[in-house]
Symmetry: C2
């Protein structure tokens, strides 16, 4: 099927979803969760095929791990769908309104975005997450996953489509593009009029390709080059805890720490203590840092790197101004943190750093839809349009003004 045909089917499904009752969408989500139990063997067999191909193609162990499904992971996906089912209906929420002086009553309500396109790589769990979030928010979904996960994705999407149809909604609420060529991705990126929004999920290369090629509006998610600035007036013990937590607790995620900036006044005391705590972390240091701790000399590339692993770039700065300047230059505007007990420094950092989330005396690891009370998240937006920061169900909606008159003219 062409992307054009899939888009038309998605449009039709979207019209049904737009006026569907929340109870029907919840019934579909229950059926989707049950479909994981009923189709577990089939999904695992399909995944085994993908994994065999991955080994044949010498896929790295960490990528294979992302691709791998297990009974536990399938149970996790099922649980995730049930949690989304339990969330409040994001559709039809009254966002505002009032009565104009001419008597017109206006009411702005939340409505689905319409048709969402999702372009992603080799994580089959995205297929289930995205389908559940879109169905809950009454959006039709076109999934275009990577070829590495095609068998897994077909098995998952097939089970989900059957489940959706079983409650009387169109199976085309969720469609999977089976053609994993570059052409199908490009067609989806340029399907204006059929696809309302595109959400890429994956590495920096994928996001960049989508931003550069898409004519459909894109919600950019992902890249996180997060900084912690340990100020001269930081409490040393707190700074050690925060830097260790932000770097080590889960280095592969986008809210993990990549670069540490340390005030020169405190570097000689702080850095050796930090190095003692961060055994197992490679430290890429500028010259002043290397005078007090061991490490690899940092290159220009290190300041812009999103390592995603146990590596930390370390730079000594003469003060807050230079820390702000460095962050302004290298930040991807995701999450940034200052550790200080200086009121004025904290205020300047909060005001002057341009990022989705700016922290004083807390780990950057908290930037998360669940933590921020948004429920399951579909990504963390690093652009400024539509929504910035964690994207929850409410961000998969748009608004519509309903206007009740009795003959008003202008």
């Amino acid at each position: 099927m062409t992307i054009q045909e899939m888009g038309l089917r998605a449009q039709a499904a979207s019209r049904t979803l737009m006026t569907s009752a929340g109870a029907v969408r919840n019934a579909a989500l229950e059926a989707m969760a049950e479909a994981f139990a009923a189709n577990e063997a089939k999904i695992l067999a399909a995944n085994a095929l993908d994994l065999a191909n991955a080994r044949e193609n010498n896929m790295s162990e960490s990528l294979q791990d992302r691709l791998r499904l297990t009974p536990e992971r399938i149970a996790g996906m099922r649980q995730g769908i049930l949690e989304i089912r339990g969330a409040a209906d994001p559709i039809g929420v009254v966002l505002g309104g009032g009565v104009l002086s001419n008597g017109l009553r206006t009411e702005q309500v939340s409505v689905p975005l319409g048709v969402i396109g999702m372009i992603y790589e080799a994580r089959p769990n995205v297929t289930a997450d995205a389908a559940a979030l879109c169905l809950k928010s009454a959006n039709a979904l076109i999934l275009r996953g990577g070829k590495e996960a095609i068998h897994s994705n077909m098995a998952v999407a097939g089970a989900l489509r059957e489940a959706i149809a079983s409650v009387g909604l169109p199976a085309d609420c969720v469609q999977l593009v089976e053609d994993t060529s570059r052409e199908s991705a490009n067609a989806l990126m340029r399907a204006n009029g059929l696809v309302d929004v595109l959400i890429p999920r994956g590495g920096a290369g994928l996001i960049k390709a989508v931003v550069e090629n898409a004519t459909v509006p894109v919600i950019e998610t992902g890249a996180g080059v997060c900084h912690a600035y340990v100020d001269a007036r930081a409490e040393i013990a707190m700074a050690l805890d925060i830097v260790e937590n932000a770097k080590v607790s889960r280095p592969s995620v986008c809210n993990a720490l990549e670069t540490l900036l340390v005030h020169a006044e405190i570097a000689a005391e702080f850095l050796p203590k930090l190095a003692a705590r961060l055994t197992g972390v490679e430290l890429r240091c500028d010259e002043p840092a290397l005078r007090v701790i061991d490490g690899t000399p940092a290159t220009q590339e290190d300041w812009a790197a999103e390592y995603g692993e146990l590596i930390l770039a370390v730079k000594v700065v003469p003060g807050l101004d230079e820390a702000l300047e460095h962050i302004s230059q290298y930040s991807t505007k995701h999450s940034e943190c200052i550790v200080t007990n200086d009121y004025a420094a904290a205020q300047r950092f909060l005001n002057e750093v341009d990022a989705a989330a700016v922290y004083v005396n807390a780990s950057t690891r908290f930037t998360d839809g669940g933590v921020f009370g948004l429920g399951a998240e579909i990504g963390i937006a690093t652009q400024k349009l539509h929504a910035r920061g964690p994207l929850g169900l409410r961000h998969l909606t748009s608004g519509k003004y309903l206007i009740y008159g009795n003959g008003q003219i202008r």
Copy 2:
């Protein structure tokens, strides 16, 4: 200067604006308003040059009228700036927040988008409007107007830049691209990392070109193929008033009516009365309509046309379903209206029509930032991301989470 250089200057200006006090921005707006008085002669002379070129190039009278500045119009632009000055500061507004169970205090505040690019055609008043809205909302602005208005735009932008600098803000808060080649527009559309948002203002061709070429996020504004559906249970007098007002009061604007759908049961009574009211309006009718009124036979193109003048497409439909189907197919999702006294029909229309504004028993002409209480508008968005419908100052902002901790780790 290249777009790249202008983008870097805009970034620098944006950083100053981001932390500027509202009082300083208001002082700049006052100075901008005064600059119009002080530079009136210079601006009119530059405009005369553009108008002379326009006549030489046989520009249509209506386009010349858009291009023309007069002392009254300059006074209007000045007044518009003062009104924007008087609006509440859209920056730093607390959008939400609370305390997490671990004691972290979160606060989401409104922040500027950053650098806004505006691509527009031959209306020099856009230069002043956009500059005032962006300055009020602490956004740096890069203007790329059409070559037809280049002298006027240079005079206006020059006066505005001087005014901005006079209060100590960077003149580069507002920059005008003096190179009006296609290359400069394309470079602006692809200035990712330098420009945060692009807002095209102009005809359908311009909007389409921007949507197709831009890799910078775009807020799509403009096209309005608006429908009125006169139901079998419409009050005839009310329907006549609404259709006449929506079509005739200001046919060039995007919330004006383009297509009338009439229920077959009421067509024989309603259409002759309407034709008698709409003298001076060309009616492009389908066959059933032509059986009861005179008019030009409508072609397929008429259903998709945004006339912007005194032409109305007229179609008789067997009922609400067919009206909804027609609207779904041809609407640009701007403003749609039903005239009826049938409760169920009104509810279905409100629920099933997908548009920025859906009206019962009122003219589509009310879709407007000022009317909706948003203040001066920068356009009316017909896409679903970020903001849908009239765009006011608040839509020129993004959000930022400020997070206050005392050592929390995850």
